[in-house]
């Protein structure tokens, strides 16, 4: 038998967090309402931990996925066309998600904040320190009173680690009560894979050992997200080798493909 493992069926799984993940969820609550920034590699579970914090505490949240093309008006609000009650087009100021969250005391999740342009950072800076002021002259309100429960949580990939990101402004960093570099998966990968792969411990161990080999070097390090995708693909009938060829092989540079596949063959083929 060339393929080592018997087919398994994908099972639904719940998010399981490591001790570190559970701590992050707890610490986010303790830091409220001050800015919290979680830095870490893509797919390590930062956003999942934030979502879990929101879910467990029954919070209302606004989400913005940051990107270089985002403008201040997209975040805090701007003069935009709107259809009036009488059906005629009107130009009027509309609050953006950030302003809505600030006024109502929601949790504001800024995903991938290192992809955000500097002008927007400047705009929201004063709302993040202890003065908690959001100035919005465009709206005519000038200074907006921020709700005491308004809590900004940002996640980010580290700059210069193969991501299209920029360095975080030092002033923004200084406003963060939590500024944490996540250096290991927040998800309990082993337990989660056990869930997905229907409790097949040997298959799970092969995935974990293969991931450990890849993580010897940053250029091949696989994220928790990709690891879960691979397990799901296996649960949907792909062999592990097929799943790796389709999902992961082409995510690494050409000179690393051989390493990914040699490792995969070592762990998943006999």
């Amino acid at each position: 038998m060339h393929i080592k493992f018997n087919p398994v069926r994908e099972r639904k799984h719940v998010n399981r967090f490591t001790t570190e993940g559970e701590n992050i969820i707890k610490w986010l609550g303790m830091a409220k309402p001050y800015l919290s920034i979680l830095m870490g590699l893509a797919g390590c579970g930062k956003t999942q931990a934030v979502e879990e914090y929101i879910r467990r505490n029954n919070l209302t949240a606004k989400h913005v996925a940051c990107h270089p093309g985002l403008e201040a008006s997209d975040l805090t609000g701007g003069v935009l066309p709107k259809v009036a009650d009488d059906g005629t087009p009107q130009i009027q100021y509309l609050d953006g998600p950030y302003t809505i969250a600030a006024k109502n005391g929601y949790t504001m999740v800024l995903d991938e904040i290192t992809r955000l342009n500097q002008p927007i950072i400047g705009k929201i800076m004063s709302s993040l320190d202890e003065t908690r002021l959001l100035t919005n002259p465009e709206s005519g309100e000038d200074t907006i009173k921020i709700h005491p429960d308004f809590h900004v949580i940002a996640t980010a990939n580290p700059p210069a680690a193969g991501y299209n990101t920029v360095n975080l402004d030092e002033a923004l960093k200084s406003r963060a009560m939590i500024y944490k570099y996540i250096d290991k998966p927040l998800c309990d990968e082993k337990e989660t894979l056990m869930d997905i792969l229907g409790g097949d411990a040997k298959y799970v161990l092969a995935f974990m050992n293969w991931a450990e080999d890849l993580r010897t070097d940053a250029s091949t390090a696989i994220s928790t997200r990709d690891l879960c995708y691979l397990a799901k693909m296996v649960g949907r009938g792909f062999t592990a080798m097929e799943a790796i060829e389709l999902n992961y092989k082409d995510k690494v540079t050409d000179d690393k493909k051989g390493i990914v596949l040699t490792g995969a063959s070592a762990h998943f083929e006999s």
Binding site: M1, G162, D183, K184, L261, A266, E269
Partner: protein, 634 residues
Amino acid sequence: MSRANRMKKRYKTPSDLRRDHRNFTSHLAGDREVSFDNFDKENIGQYVAGVESNNDSIVIKRPKGRLTFNSNLLTAGQIKFSNHELSGNVRNQIARRLFNKAYAPKSYDEEHPGYESAPEGKTKIHKSAHGSWSGFNQAKEVYDAVYNILENFRASKKSAKHFNRPKILKDHLKDIAKAQGYGYETNLEYTEVDDGKEWYNLDRLQFDVDWNELRQWVYSNLKLKDIKNPVIESIVKRHKSILMNASDSLNNISPIHAALTVALDFEMSAQDSFGNGIGGPIVCGKKSIVKTTAKEDEDSEYGHDIYTQKSLNHDVSEEDLEDLATEIMESGVQEYQKGINERLGKQGLSQITIDPNDDNKFEDVRKQIENLKNIEKMNVLCTGGIAENEGIISLTNSIDLSSIHLDESLDRANQGIGSRGYKLTRRAWELPTFGNINVFKKHPPTSADLITLIDGSGSMGYLRSETEGQTYRRHTYPLQQAGDMVMAIRKRFPDSRSFVFGDYPRTTKYEDNRQDAALYEIKDNQFPKYPASGTPLCGSLKALEKEFVLDHARIVIATDGDANWCKTGDPYECVYNILTSWRNKGVRIATLFTPNYEGQTMPKSLHGDVTISAEAGMPIDSLQIKQVFNFIKG
């Protein structure tokens, strides 16, 4: 076609297999350097596939030709699970401690000032150890042999388990069973100390050792009563328990401890044996060799005696041996742990505590160290920024640039790399409605289309003044070559930006915000003055990253060598990793190598798209300029 058959042929040729496995093994080795030593197939049996660690290097020994997948995975696992760094630390400690326990004769110290003095009251040991740690090569050789046997066995079991391939271990056991002594016999020789004799008259003490017998005993292929080599027999008899524990243990410190104990016993017993009748009993002797086995060296015209020692006297008490071994282990572990913890501290990670006796905790520590190495590559600590210069000097070209014409059509084509046009923002509707013309934005990548970065370190030399340039033309410094290239680039691409990088200005202005590297801009024909610098290239690259949107940018880096200052740790690794991440983003990088002298090694960390080499001491020529322009034009 069944799925199993479809997946079967992954490696079509032996060369693919060799290359991929070599890469995979090097990948698992991380930042450790691994070399491969292939022995001829006819020597299979005399050697076995495995890892040999000695003299700070790791060598994978394996037969030439195509190997089985499992055989390749065996050595890959042996690399992965071994702690050769710690072993190297301990190995070096052996020499240091034995040296301190032994001596350097006063006369030798006087003749060779600077060598460490012997502790008071110590006396002579064998000649080769005079005044130098390197004299303890015999102890290191014993250590290497025992450590490699034990560690390969332990790691092969770990490999089989890690890859879930029991056949790896099964095949390895078969290979070992077939192994003969030939490749593993050594001859350890000690030379007597006698200041009254010339070197060629000094007697020697020899030990013929068949390490294969020790290996076969460790692998349970040989019983103690069947061991023929008396030295091995005496080692096994004395250290049976520690050797057996080491090959059964899960943690990689046990083999180090066992090899250390055997090596210390061997060395001190040999020293003590040879001390008799020459300088009296030495380090910790109780009884000594009786030179009854002396034979004259038949090949020697000098007539010195060679004593072939049949066994070790083991005249060092077990307690003394254990004390010294523990002392060296603790020292080696502490040194290793301290180094790792410093690196962990730099990255803000929690510290480790290595407990050689705790197998379970040990695996966590191993993973934590692997994680650290990974983080170090991702988390660059070096910083930099643009700084004000400390004055200006005139930049005059030392070559004729008149042949470089401004070809606008070529330049326009070149702008395509970043889109020079203006782009409307989403507030474009304000233009007709409110007449607001402030609705354009420049596409960010254009701000960093083309940047030239010049190494401002001392080794780059200096720009000759106009007067000096006219009177003294015999040699062109690397900085002048780079300056000429900058002028050529700026003549052709006036929008490009150019910087010299170096240390941060030492003025009080930057006292609160001094970073690891500074960029000093070259404007028109004005070359900045800057403080004397090293080569903080990683910080300079981070400065570029901070100041510009580098997507799709083209960067020319002129330097005469690799970076040599880095806050993250290893400047070579740091530069390499930053450039890798840039290239993944579409940044293209050219290196203008301006060597200081002919035959100088090219900087390897700058793995750009192209390297253009200038000739040492000579002005740059039109071909080199053309090569740079071709790179810029893409």
